[in-house]
């Protein structure tokens, strides 16, 4: 039932397939346009939005610049408040920690709050391998899980599915894993949501252990923050006896007061609301209220690699709002699956290579999955200059191949262009071959251009030649 992103083809190949899916194109176009409209409206309401963005970026930068101190403080304040803190270098270690907690409590199922990080580490698969069922409880995640599908958006992982497809998934799959959907289920979103409510309610009431991520972790107070809409998060965070929260180390916010700009930026950027329906904060174990055993797993899994990249580390400011996806013209047309990762869109195109390192064809294709139009940077609430990082990562990809024994045709072309473009006279000589060049290009290199687009008619002479001939006089 579970699919993974392992073995996905490079972006251009996956994108070509996605582009051919007209239903997907329609679903995505509708969804991204809707959410962009909502965001624009509530962002315009905030008089000092730019100032707020700067503050949000500054808070996250401060958190990252002193990350070691803040992590140590977070550990201390969590421990003081009765939580057990674990550290995990990578996915395997993190999954092992969660599995061990589950085993100690002899549970065969856990309920899950939607969490990017547990998808990143493949926790559901790791639990499944130990005979422990992991139930996704966010509506979209439920749709994805029941459909044996992959998430395609950070905020709305089933954005690629329309109501008819969702109805079909619920009708055919819910009964196999719990309470079945009513047989007369319609494709009305309210009816579909009601079916999910009934299906999951029995799991919430029964579950003894929950797994969450966290949007923020306040070092000063040991407070974890989960931002959500449906109430499934609250169910998981309060009803079971045991709670394990897997938290990327970049989620740290130094002080309680510094949460403020982030709480103002996130919902407006994300769902286009002034505030999301539910935000829960808790600090360790709360006597008599909610889980009485609380674990926090602090996860690296490539984050320190990203942190070491002076240009790329700004990507760790990301608060997973997905505004960059919704404004990205590439994402809007190809959807999330083409990025081959739980982190799709512009942020995924930089985060994946930063976390994993460059070197494999799929990862290396991601920094090129952008026209560098800059819409993502403009929308980002914490001012991650995604185009800058994309260009930087492209240079890392290229540098990774500098010692290749047989250079790629592109590298050969760039070296020759470098020589030609390093002097006006060289370029002038090359241009005398332009007409011939375009002719040759039409037959060979430019085929990918001319398959769909005309090339302009080559001019009789270059600007340079005209200037030389006439000294720029207009009688030509």
């Amino acid at each position: 039932m579970t699919h993974t992103f392992v073995g996905m083809p490079p972006f251009p190949v996956a994108a070509r397939e996605a582009l051919a899916d007209t239903q997907l194109r329609h679903n995505l176009g509708h969804a991204t346009a809707t959410i962009r409209g909502k965001r624009d409206q509530v962002v315009a309401e905030v008089e000092n939005w730019e100032e707020l963005r700067l503050a949000g970026a500054a808070v996250k930068d401060r958190a990252l610049r002193g990350l070691d101190q803040h992590l140590v403080q977070l550990e201390e304040s969590l421990t003081d408040r009765g939580a057990t803190v674990h550290w995990a270098r990578d996915a395997v270690e993190a999954n092992r920690i969660v599995v061990d907690v589950a085993r100690r409590h002899r549970v065969d199922e856990v309920v899950k709050v939607k969490s990017m990080v547990t998808q990143e580490i493949g926790l559901n698969e790791a639990l499944q391998a130990e005979g422990i069922a992991a139930w996704e409880t966010d509506l979209a995640e439920l749709i994805v899980q029941l459909g044996g599908d992959l998430p395609s958006h950070i905020l709305v992982p089933a954005i690629h599915r329309n109501r008819a497809e969702i109805r079909e998934i619920f009708r055919s799959k819910m009964g196999g894993v719990g309470r079945a959907a009513p047989s007369e289920l319609s494709d009305d979103p309210a009816a579909l949501a009601a079916a999910a409510r009934a299906h999951l309610r029995e799991k919430f009431l029964r579950a003894r252990m929950a797994v969450s991520g966290a949007n923020f972790a306040v070092a000063e107070t040991g407070t974890l923050v989960v931002v959500e809409s449906e109430g499934n998060g609250r169910m998981c965070l309060t009803l079971p006896d045991v709670l394990v929260s897997v938290v990327g180390i970049e989620k740290v916010v130094p002080t309680w007061a510094e949460l403020d700009p982030l709480l103002r930026l996130l919902p407006r950027s994300s769902t286009g609301e002034r505030m999301n329906p539910y935000t829960s904060t808790w600090s360790g174990v709360i006597p008599g209220d909610g889980p009485q055993e609380v674990h926090v797993v602090l996860l690296d899994n490539g984050r320190t690699r990203a942190l070491a990249d002076e240009v790329g580390r700004q990507a760790l400011r990301c608060i997973r709002c997905s505004a960059c996806l919704n404004v990205c013209p590439v994402y809007e047309r190809v959807g999330g699956h083409a990025y081959g990762s739980v982190y799709p869109g512009p942020i995924g195109a930089i985060l994946n290579p930063l976390l994993k390192g460059t070197g494999d064809p799929q990862t290396d294709s991601l920094p090129y999955a952008s026209s560098l139009c800059g819409a993502c940077f403009e929308a980002c609430p914490v001012r991650i200059d995604i185009p800058e990082v994309l260009v930087h990562l492209r240079s890392k990809v290229v540098d990774g191949h500098r010692d290749d024994r047989i250079p790629k045709p592109e590298a050969v072309a760039m070296r020759s262009a470098s020589w030609t473009f390093a002097g006006g006279r060289r370029l002038g000589r090359a241009e005398r071959l332009t007409r011939l060049g375009i002719g040759v290009g039409r037959r060979f290199g430019a085929a990918r251009w001319t398959a769909t687009r005309d090339l302009p008619t080559p001019p009789k002479e270059s600007f340079r030649a005209w200037w030389k001939r006439t000294d720029g006089r207009l009688d030509r």
Binding site: A15, L19, S395, F421, E431, W449, P456, P458, P459, F463
Partner: protein
């Protein structure tokens, strides 16, 4: 800076800039040593290859009061990427030259409006026109409504709004080839919006974007031609300028 694309493929745009600037009383020169700003290399990840190109650029333009270019993208490259290339070269002399030249480099509409202080350049262009604000002009440079103000002052023009104007056309340099399918999907939507306006001419400040959109329009016999902003602004009643 005429840019390598204009030099080789759209010399008419360069000539239009010369005509326009001279009409406005600017002393125009074309240093023959200029070649390319280096953006194709930088944006594809070839930083080492960009170093000699940027070196040549700063040498070619040293000593001029202003470098004017009919390309938001190339102006953006000079202002936002040359520093990166200088850092890669670890050459403080180059870094100094870049820091000196970058602020004196202007995209055409910036130069006209901010430096010369004109919006009415005395142009005449009796056609139905729609304007596409290219991404680098719009977001990298922030030229804002300057091109639009220049166009609005053109006599005879009928300017119509382009739906979803601020959305990328899908050119993106090597993106157009590396991700040709996605690029064409984006460009087709842009071309559709252009056709929806009923315009006869699509105008933009970057010929590379126009090459992409124009290539799609032309392939589909859409009946819309593309023109650089400079060519529209250079046109007068006495001298309508050559067709492309």
């Amino acid at each position: 800076m005429v840019t390598c694309v204009n030099d080789a493929i759209y010399p008419g745009t360069g000539a239009a800039v010369v005509r326009l600037l001279r009409r406005l009383g600017v002393d125009v020169d074309f240093p023959q040593d200029q070649a390319c700003c280096g953006q194709p290399m930088v944006n594809t990840g070839y930083l080492d290859e960009a170093v000699p190109v940027v070196r040549n650029f700063v040498d070619a333009f040293a000593g001029y009061d202003a470098v004017v270019t009919p390309s938001g993208s190339c102006a953006g490259s000079v202002r936002h990427q040359h520093g990166l290339v200088a850092r890669r070269a670890a050459d403080p002399v180059l870094a100094g030259a870049v820091a000196d030249l970058s602020p004196r480099t202007f995209e055409l509409s910036e130069f006209l409006v901010d430096v010369l202080g004109v919006t009415d350049v005395g142009a005449y262009f009796p056609h139905r026109v729609t304007y596409h604000p290219t991404c680098h002009s719009l977001r990298m440079l922030g030229v804002g409504d300057r091109p639009r103000r220049l166009l609005e002052a053109v006599r005879g023009i009928r300017l119509v709004d382009l739906p979803h104007a601020d959305e990328c056309c899908g050119f993106g340099g090597t993106f157009a080839v590396k991700n040709a399918d996605t690029s064409v999907a984006m460009g087709s939507d842009k071309a559709r919006h252009v056709r929806e306006t009923g315009a006869e001419v699509l105008v933009a400040g970057d010929n590379s974007c126009l090459m992409h959109i124009g290539g799609l329009l032309s392939r589909n016999q859409a009946g819309v031609r593309v023109m650089h902003l400079a060519e529209v602004l250079a046109s007068t009643e006495a001298d309508p300028g050559g067709a492309r």
